[in-house]
């Protein structure tokens, strides 16, 4: 078992710089609390791991299967409000409400995809944008039940300490991202969803002509995307200690889009890179809002996005990957940038 792990590491991780960086980064996150135990830093990283789940789920739904969703905050907000309301009125504990919240978000995903599946392209995007705003209006209209603009405060924490919260969220993030990565991996031998999502995005009619029930897979994309976004939303309110209308706002939907497109759409790592650059880095640099960065976070983020997009329209992550990895023209195996010949078949890489 150990030997097999070592062999895997030696032959399929070490020669591929992208995977190596991913593992180094994960280890760095694991030992981060050893470097600093300031609770504000841990808090930011906890929130970023939840935002990673949220962004990656948007990438799965909109990037991979091509159903560009402008209202991803719907799933996030529904789960957030479900958990909060269950605690407030029934007194249920987080370990019960968080899965229920995620499942309710999944259900909402199924419900919204029925009108959404009739539409394509920009119409679909604009229709999905409408749903969270409708719900927002309802939340504001029934203030007594939902707390209106003040939300529902006073929710219990998922762990006694910040450290515990940090590790729980990190674990959930890693597992979710791995699951979603496997589900969207077009080269996988066991799971066909990745390949089918790619087919639907590239050419839906051809996919249908090849005998794929595209409607079923689109619903599946909504279900998976909804579930993970809901999971992120449900955890988010418990880390934050309360829910508010910001979980349903248009800003929240746009945040997913910003992170994913910034890092590189249709690539799971792009979303991760986007969140950790645009959210974590800027927040960590601006802790306490005392310095220049802390006061102009959104402006800096917007300018950064504009500049990066001008020079790397595919996204930061994809740009970096193209620099450090090379695909073998003969056997399509990924090689490090330092090699002149493919590591498997020996073909020249130039």
């Amino acid at each position: 078992m150990l030997r097999r792990l070592f062999k895997d590491f030696r032959f399929s991780v070490l020669p591929v710089p992208g995977r190596l960086i991913a593992i180094i980064f994960f280890v760095a996150l694991l030992i981060f609390p050893l470097i600093t135990d300031k609770s504000s830093h841990l808090y930011i990283l906890t929130l970023s791991s939840l935002l990673v789940i949220f962004a990656v789920s948007w990438d799965l739904l909109s990037g991979y299967s091509g159903q560009v969703n402008f209202g991803h905050a719907l799933f996030f907000g529904v789960a957030a409000y479900t958990t909060a309301l269950l605690y407030k009125y029934l007194g249920w504990q987080p370990w019960a409400t968080i899965p229920i919240g995620a499942l309710v978000a999944t259900g909402i995903g199924v419900v919204t995809c029925f009108p959404a599946l009739r539409l394509r392209g920009p119409y679909l995007s604009l229709l999905t944008m409408a749903f969270p705003l409708m719900l927002l209006g309802v939340v504001m209209a029934f203030k007594d039940f939902t707390g209106g603009e003040f939300g529902i405060p006073g929710l219990p924490e998922i762990a006694a300490t910040r450290l515990g919260e940090y590790y729980i969220c990190l674990l959930v993030m890693t597992v979710s991202v791995l699951i979603m990565w496997k589900l969207t991996d077009a080269g996988s031998k066991y799971i066909r969803t990745g390949l089918i999502f790619h087919a639907i995005r590239e050419d839906e009619i051809a996919a249908r002509a090849s005998g794929i029930n595209t409607i079923r897979y689109k619903i599946l994309a909504f279900v998976i995307g909804g579930f993970f976004a809901g999971l992120a939303g449900a955890l988010y309110v418990h880390v934050l200690g309360g829910t508010g209308i910001s979980t349903l706002s248009m800003t929240m939907s746009f945040r997913a889009i910003i992170y994913v497109v910034f890092g590189g759409i249709v690539s799971i790592y792009g979303a991760v890179i986007g969140v950790y650059t645009l959210y974590t880095l800027i927040q960590l640099l601006g802790v306490g809002a005392r310095n220049f960065i802390g006061q102009n976070q959104i402006l800096i983020m917007a300018i950064l996005v504009i500049l990066i997009l001008l020079f790397m329209p595919e996204g930061l992550g994809v740009w970096v990957r193209d620099k450090i990895e090379r695909e073998c023209p003969r056997c399509k195996l990924t090689n490090g940038f330092w090699r002149k010949e493919c590591r498997a078949c020996g073909a020249s890489l130039h």
Binding site: L126, L127, I257, I258, A302, V305, I306, P313
Partner: protein, 283 residues
Amino acid sequence: MTLVTGGVYALLATGFSLIFGNARVINLAHTGFFMLAAYLLWYFMRQLGLDTVWAIVITVPAVTLVGILAFRFLINPIREHLAAVLLMTVALAMAFEELMTNLFTSHYHLLPNLIPGYTEIFGVRVINQYLLTLGIVVVVIVIVWLILAKTKLGIALRATAQDAEIANLMGISVPRTLMITMGIATALAAVAAVVVAPLWTIYPGMWTQPLVMVMVVVVLGGLGSVKGSIIGAFIIAFVEQSVITLMPSYTYLSTVFAILAMVIVLIVRPGGLFGVLFEEERL
């Protein structure tokens, strides 16, 4: 009031629709330009003390220039990458909002009516500002329609909207046409801001609410159709205002009902009321 709101939505939606129809860009920064124009007008009138007419004469071309420059240097280079363009417009709008917050603080600002007093029509007192707003809206819409329908430029614009590649082959410079479209669209947003600034409050976040309504209007009327946008604008404004009038305690639901109207229309007619179905792109 319905007519005024509808008119403003119509101006904004026409511009949004023009850009979408010609450049296939969902311009989320469209109402960002609207906000920018409102702020500039406020700045010129209140801070510099310029005359109303002069303030308007400077504001509209200035915002139009900003729009054209933004399109030329930020959107056009990456027009091939749809997701990147989308994000670029979001980032632009956010940058505008933050800039305005930094420059003019996030306080609410008010402008006086451009012309004072009121007129009695059928025994109802109507503030002159409303009449002025309506008048300008009608004139501007007629001008845009004339440009689109009668001039050579308008023919070029519509040709580009139908098929950019063929238009290019026929000797129409597509990038230039798109820049002109962007210019017209931003100018429309600026005019909308100018006429409505005295009626609404000016604050950095004022772009989100109209953006939502504009999208609703455009989808309702059909993307890329100017006629649809104008009719959709008045339908949505009517729905919104009647909710506010009939259920004053549930004002928050006005957006909900407006969106509901859109959803119903979309379910019955997936292409909007007057939608142009881009057959080759629906694949």
